[in-house]
Amino acid sequence: MSHLLEVRNLGKTYRSRKGWPWTPKSVAIEPLSFTLEAGEILAVMGETGSGKSTLAQIIGGVDTATSGEILLNGQKLHSNNYPQLCNNIRMIFQDSENSLNAHLNIGKQLEEPLLFNTQLTAAERQERVNLTLQRVGMLREHWEFYPHMLSSGQKQRVCIARAIILEPQIVVADEALVALDPSIRAQIINLMLDLQKDMGISYILVTHSPQIVKHIADKILILYRGKMIAFDKTDIVLEDTQQTYVQQLLHEHLKQNIQYNSDRSAKIAD
């Protein structure tokens, strides 16, 4: 049986602009392999400069790898095969403010991936956009809105709508939950989990919040200076007390909890 996504010996090196042809290249990601199944959430963790964003961008098709290959459902993924890439893997970026086009209204913005990747007619496209807007908890009236008229949470919802409109199998979220307010962040996490339940999407979540990872991730991949030092199921990685770096990254922060008894009142639902 083939996996949904299989990454084999994927590596990325950069040649610096200065230096001789034989000066060693700087390594962003050392060759690494991992697999992802349908309906799973994979969390990619690591500190700044560990290559986690590069990895997300390579999988999302924004960047190309220098070695190794990515297999999607057993088929090799080419970075220039746009229909295959766009229909199956979509990205959400960190800054929803800047990743939307300020000149287009929300409807046109969501219509664009359909225009480029499907043969739907105008009426079908409109139907699909309306459906997707409702799916992410917005109204069909938002079609006419421009990004500056929306709040940050709604913009993030539009970004998610743009990612799921082609019904992909994998959504890569690059630090998508960092810049949000707590109440909006909880709403977006709920939305992502609901979408996963409805559509069976797999997520690759690049984040540095141990709490979020512990709560929603099925698997954790930890990068340290471009090297993969851990890849396993969440509870196994969390119980791993051998590696000091994993300890540093996860345990210290999970220990810092506020004492709070939550059974006192339970009226705040959902």
Binding site: P182, I184, L193, A269
Partner: protein, 330 residues
């Protein structure tokens, strides 16, 4: 004696759609050497409160207060010059993005030297130069940078976020202020860097007898050493009081839901379960609800919530709610 005493601070903004009240009767008391956390989501006016204290005020804002006292002196009655003198001597502020706040054109050393007060170094030209250099080194050591040689010579773009934030703290404490306002100093940082900055701020508060006002978005990311906590929502004061009491027994529905939403408090929640959250989104300035501004999102809201609730004083804490979760009799 109170170092900072604010009563009923109101800030009104002149916008194209009329006057909007962005801070509504906020109280804040601060004693020396105390860490006070202000928690609120975006648009809650927490940065505006800091700006009002520091006096960074736009001409079309109207700041009124029953009392805005610093160390027994009325800040609002002063001339701008007098006020600037006090602000410059006693207060300092650090911001969210240190790389944007530091000057990209000069080295770390030049920037810290600039912040050292003129009167602190005396003597001949050479003497002053050497003194300044040792002071910069000492400041860098105090904020936990051991490798002072290379850091002093580097430009802000060469520094990592954590180091840059430490440098900006070094600049802020160069004139030994009595109050440091930290406006979301760790929001976009990794957990390990955040921990370092938090430990540094807590240590400085103790060793320098400096009061720290820490502004933060999330109840989960406040300092464990926080003495008092204030929660703001859309410019209204929700709850204020000793941090320990509030965190263990919130009286206001907003505090309660903030604690529930923060993943730090959710230990027994099953894996991948839906998180509790407040419905709806934060209202914009143009569409502020009347009365209690939390009203439309509050799960406990009733008819009376269209009137702004009066303050309830319960021992050391104050909350504004018609239907508090706490029995004031108990």
């Amino acid at each position: 004696m109170q170092l900072l005493d604010i009563r009923n601070l109101t800030v009104e903004m002149q916008t194209a759609h009329g006057i909007v009240r962005v801070l509504d009767k906020v109280n804040l008391q601060l004693t020396e050497g105390e860490i006070h956390s202000i928690v609120g989501e975006s648009g809650s006016g927490k940065s505006l409160l800091a700006k009002a204290i520091m006096g960074f005020i736009n001409p079309n804002w109207q700041v009124t207060a029953d009392r805005l006292w610093w160390n027994g002196q009325d800040l609002l009655a002063m001339t701008p010059k007098q006020r600037r003198k006090i602000t410059g001597r006693d207060m300092a502020m650090i911001f969210q993005d240190p790389n944007a706040y530091l000057d990209p054109n000069s080295t770390v050393e030049q920037q810290i030297v600039e912040a050292i007060p003129q009167g602190d170094v005396r003597g001949t030209f050479m003497r002053r130069r050497v003194d300044r250099k040792t002071r910069v080194k000492r400041l860098l050591h105090r904020v936990g940078i051991r490798d002072h040689e290379s850091i002093m010579e580097s430009y802000p773009f060469e520094l990592s976020q954590g180091i840059a934030q430490k440098v900006s703290i070094a600049i802020a404490i160069a004139h030994r202020p009595r109050l440091l306002i930290a406006d979301e100093p760790t929001t976009a940082m990794e957990p390990s860097t955040r921990l370092q900055i938090h430990r540094l701020l807590a240590r400085l508060a103790v060793s320098q007898k400096m009061s720290v006002v820490l502004i933060s978005q999330d109840v989960g990311s406040i300092l464990p050493e926080t003495k008092r906590l204030t929660l703001l929502y859309c410019g209204q004061l929700m709850e204020t009081g000793p941090a320990h009491d509030i965190l263990s027994e919130p009286a206001h529905p907003y505090t309660d839901s903030m604690l529930r939403m923060s993943l730090q408090t959710q230990q027994e929640l099953p894996h991948k379960a839906r998180l509790p959250t407040l419905p709806g989104s934060i209202p914009t300035l143009r569409h502020m609800p009347i009365g209690c501004r939390l009203g439309p999102r509050c799960p406990y809201a009733q008819k009376t919530c269209v009137k702004a609730p009066r303050a309830t004083h319960d021992r050391q804490r104050v909350y504004h709610c018609h239907f508090p979760l706490l029995d004031s009799s108990s």
